[in-house]
């Protein structure tokens, strides 16, 4: 893989377009959301309702199955589902980003990375709607972050969003070239959903619990879920996600710089 200095600098230049073009991706992301719910009375509130329905069903089912007290389980479950939704949304929809923006990309030259920013921002907006549920659940069951953990939460969020974003960029590039990739990804994430402690406590694994920590998404969730539940995320999770962010972004920048100009040819 030959990578020239010009490719790197135009790749980075493209990525810096995210800063200068924030108005555009902000508008595009909101447009996506409005478009999905246009002419429906409740609009984006449907996001909140769907998540609530999902949560109540799973919550009732699993508290009965596992015989665990729901005042502890429901906040754990709702935070897990909501943040999993964010990560999954960024990565899974990330795969379709350039394909979905074909009409724009072929009509006018804009930095390609703004479409990634659009996908990420759209999913953050969705998170905002879903988060209402968590707040309600937390108030009902009296689960609150501790004085220290509340300060760790924004840091965890930032790191998780940054880390998911490079994955989105990488899968977006690969998906344009290999059209089977989005389907493969969907299947991987269906499997990962069950392999990540979202609907069960990691402690249920007993002495095999360490196996869960080979799954990076266990650490993703730890960084954003634990602080809300009043716990301090383990140091290992910070190291894993932090390390993945640095290594991942380096890889993503190299890959994107190398193939950026080819993307429009592949569409």
């Amino acid at each position: 893989m030959v990578l020239t200095r010009e490719q790197i600098s135009s790749g980075i230049n493209d990525l810096s377009g995210i800063v200068t073009h924030w108005r555009l991706w902000h508008l595009l992301a909101w447009r996506d959301i409005k478009q999905r719910y246009r002419r429906s009375t409740l609009g984006p509130l449907w996001l909140t309702i769907s998540m609530a329905v999902n949560m109540v069903v799973i919550g009732v089912l699993f508290t009965t199955l596992f015989n665990s007290p729901y005042e502890k389980f429901l906040p754990f479950l709702s935070a897990g589902l909501i943040f999993w939704g964010l990560i999954l949304g960024i990565i899974n929809e990330g795969a379709g980003t350039f394909l979905g923006a074909t009409n724009f990309i072929q009509q006018v030259r804009r930095p390609l990375s703004i479409y990634i920013a659009q996908t990420v921002w759209r999913n953050i907006i969705i998170l905002g709607h879903n988060f209402i549920i968590y707040i309600i659940v937390a108030i009902i069951f009296g689960v609150f972050p501790s004085v220290i953990s509340i300060w760790l939460w924004p840091a965890g969020m930032l790191l998780v969003i940054l880390c998911s974003s490079w994955i989105a960029l990488v899968v977006a590039v690969i998906s344009v070239r290999y059209r089977d990739f989005p389907m493969i990804l969907t299947n991987i994430f269906t499997a990962l959903f069950w392999l990540t402690p979202i609907m069960y406590y990691p402690s249920l694994f007993g002495n095999k619990q360490y196996l869960l920590y080979f799954n990076p998404f266990t650490h993703f969730l730890a960084l954003v879920r634990d602080p809300l539940l009043g716990q301090i995320p383990p140091l290992m999770s910070w190291i894993v996600v932090g390390g993945l962010t640095v290594v991942g972004w380096t890889f993503a920048i190299v890959l994107f710089s190398r193939f950026r100009s080819r993307i429009v040819y592949w569409l």
């Binding site: 508008l27 447009r31 009409n103 724009f104 072929q106 009509q107 006018v108 804009r110 429009v264 040819y265």
Partner: protein
């Protein structure tokens, strides 16, 4: 000083979904398929040249070693038959395709206009659509405000601008799309074909507005099949065939060669 300069630019499209060819290859039908392909490819008279690399990958050469200089004030009309590379050349100048080979340098801000309905969403209101288009074309919020005022005045759509554009008649859609498209003041304008619809009275106003729009740009690059229109707007012409630049010079000369049948068959 605005300018565009192209030095031996190539644009080649890889075709991936023709992988059936390589599958046939594996079943020992490669030879038959290849000679069949050769016959088919030789016979084509439109489009860029299709070739198969030794790796079995198919590619289309849409532009082949094209070189030219365009200076401020030039109005260039691009002529050529279907698939000769007109649209590819426009998109390359607009920076959408980066040449696979060769050097292209553009001084000035490019405004592409390939599809006047570009980015329009039927459930969004007229105003929302104007805003999105403005943002896509990198206008500042103030410029978008200006554009909106201008479009209100030009299109006479009034309160309809607050309605979803799916409620518009075809004529109203054309007014809006045309109004938005011409509300910007481009340095370098890159146009693909031209639009003519709406009622008679609108058509006259549209002509007037179009003249102004085009006269105000530093450089115009336009592709069209209509020699009458190119005569009206352009002072220079380019003739393309199979991705090669056959001629570049005064518009009358190039149109003459085009009408003499040059650039038709391969």
């Amino acid at each position: 000083m605005l300018s565009i300069s192209a030095d031996k630019i190539n644009v080649e499209f890889p075709i991936y979904d023709s992988y059936m060819r390589s599958l046939r290859h594996q079943f020992g039908l490669g030879k038959v398929a290849r000679s069949l392909n050769k016959m088919l490819y030789k016979a084509h008279s439109v489009g860029g040249n299709i070739s198969t690399e030794s790796s079995g990958r198919t590619k289309i050469t849409a532009l082949n070693g094209v070189s030219f200089e365009v200076k401020e004030g030039d109005r260039v009309g691009i002529l050529g038959h279907n698939g000769s590379g007109k649209t590819t050349l426009l998109r390359t100048i607009a920076g959408i395709y980066e040449p696979t080979d060769g050097l292209l340098s553009v001084k000035g801000r490019i405004t592409p206009l390939f599809d006047i309905q570009f980015g329009m969403e039927s459930d969004a209101t007229g105003l929302e659509n104007i805003e999105l288009r403005g943002r896509m074309l990198d206008l500042s919020p103030e410029q978008i405000e200006e554009a909106i005022e201008e479009v209100i005045e030009f299109t006479e759509l009034g309160n309809y601008l607050h309605m979803p554009i799916r409620t518009y008649s075809t004529g109203m859609m054309v007014r809006l799309a045309f109004g938005v498209s011409t509300a910007i003041k481009p340095e370098i304008l890159v146009l693909d074909e031209m639009i003519g619809a709406g009622d008679e009275a609108f058509f006259e106003r549209a002509q007037e507005r179009l003249s102004l729009f085009i006269e105000n740009t530093g450089i115009l690059i336009i592709a069209s099949h209509s020699t009458a229109m190119l005569r009206q707007w352009c002072n220079k012409g380019m003739l393309l065939q199979h991705g090669n630049l056959l001629a570049y010079g005064p518009i009358e000369e190039v149109i003459g060669r085009y009408e003499n049948g040059e650039g038709t068959m391969g």
